[in-house]
């Protein structure tokens, strides 16, 4: 999971990566339509590894940029391992999380604890599996608490429901609003049948995902750190009516420490 490898993976159609100061120096028209807004800034200079002293820091402009989305596919053979298949992105370049604030504490042994507070910490993404099936999911790190060494600190986060409680499905059924059964089906209670219970009763509860982050380089002069991450989280459950798929997201991240 090296930083260079991850960076090279997305060299295809994306603009040249810029440092934070270079990004701030761009004008609106230069950024518009170029894809730069979806990229995390890279470090200018700095050393390998996590070089900050123990203490508590406040993390600003924590940015996570995925470089690959893969979805777990159940193996058709019994006992066969599950594999993650490559996907095609449907929702274009809007998947990067940014401007996230967090608290980072470094203890004497050099272990990190990152507690996420708030920011643009969710992004709705839809990918397409080979075969045409579309998998929407909410890429997020809400309420993340990650602990561990700088070489791999991990934790779990909250994945809210892709749809809210007031979302109506094509038959007008919703959680906190809308119908509560399939109206317009023939009379005789057909709308309220048990088999339709999955579709009639909407479930907007959230679930959890896991992420592992690794610090690749840091710059103590400017207070920036950067690295790679790998996150596994469930996809959309269509308000409780279908089983979620597991999505693995790999990418790079960077942050500014105060």
């Amino acid at each position: 999971m090296s930083l260079l490898f991850e960076l090279k993976k997305t060299a295809a159609a994306n603009p040249k990566r810029l440092t934070y100061d270079e990004v701030q120096a761009q004008t609106y028209l230069e950024v518009k339509g170029s894809g730069t807004a979806n990229q995390c800034p890279i470090l200018s200079g700095g050393d390998e590894g996590f070089k900050f002293k123990p203490g508590s820091y406040s993390v600003k402009k924590f940015c996570l940029e995925p470089t690959s989305f893969t979805v777990k596919k159940e193996s058709p053979f019994k006992g066969g391992g599950d594999q993650y298949v490559d996907t095609k992105l449907m929702t274009r370049l809007t998947y990067t999380l940014d401007e996230i604030e967090a608290d980072l504490s470094v203890d004497e042994k050099g272990n990190l604890k990152l507690v996420e507070k708030d920011g643009i910490d969710y992004a709705a993404v839809t990918v397409q599996l080979p075969g045409g099936e579309r998998v929407p999911f909410l890429f997020t790190i809400k309420e993340l608490v990650a602990t561990g060494s700088p070489d791999g600190f991990s934790g779990s986060f909250l994945v809210p429901s892709y749809r809210g409680s007031s979302f109506l499905d094509p038959k007008g059924r919703g959680g906190s609003t809308g119908y509560d059964n399939a109206v317009a089906l023939p009379a005789g209670g057909a709308g309220d049948e048990e088999e339709l219970g999955k579709e009639n009763l909407k479930d907007t509860s959230g679930s959890t995902g896991n992420i592992t982050l690794k610090v690749a380089e840091s710059n103590t002069a400017t207070g920036e750190i950067a690295g790679v991450f790998e996150s596994i989280q469930p996809s959309d459950t269509d308000l409780g009516s279908k089983a979620p798929k597991e999505v693995k997201i790999q990418g790079i991240w960077c942050a500014q420490l105060d």
Partner: protein, 219 residues
Amino acid sequence: MADEEEQGVSRRLALALAAGALVATGKVSTASAAYGEAANVFGSPKQQSGFTTLTGDGFKLDVPSKWNPSKELEFPGTLLRYEDNFDQKSNLAVMVIPTDKKSITDYGSPEDFLSAYSYLLGKQAYAGKTVSEGGFDPNAVATAAVLQSKTKDINGKKYYDLDVLTRTADGDEGGTHQLIVASINNGKLYLLKAQAGDKRWFKGAQKFVKGVAESFSLA
């Protein structure tokens, strides 16, 4: 001859003086120009306040003229209920509930009074779990915020005046402004609730709803 002329002149003078005095005091009701009456020549322009004053059983209230009476009994003790002609979300209701308290201040602060009568704002009927409502607490799809609360003193009686904004997760009308005015008189609690959605509030309903709340007074 001279006497008659003098009398004539003095009578004419008296009449002119009387007419002048009447015009000066402005008590001439030529403004009401009903059919057959003289036109509104010297009177003041008719004041359109947009409200009609209603006197109920023990209270007085200005109701917006374009609002219609409604037969709905939303809360216990409703005496009257008026709603906007085209939008039922803009309405007012006066409730009278017997009580044993002597003054509205016996309930504590205006916020304490509101907690005792929180059914006026409605209750959330959704019991499901959700963390996907942005701007709402987990599992909450409706919330209320007290924007302003004050204690008024009219004719020696204390009134509680609360301005509440209730919001729901589906963003219905951008939230509802609910103005609640309450006071106690003769062992009865008089409650006025006037509301309008924010969508109408900033387009002019604010003037009407605030006018209703400010005009509510007990006999």
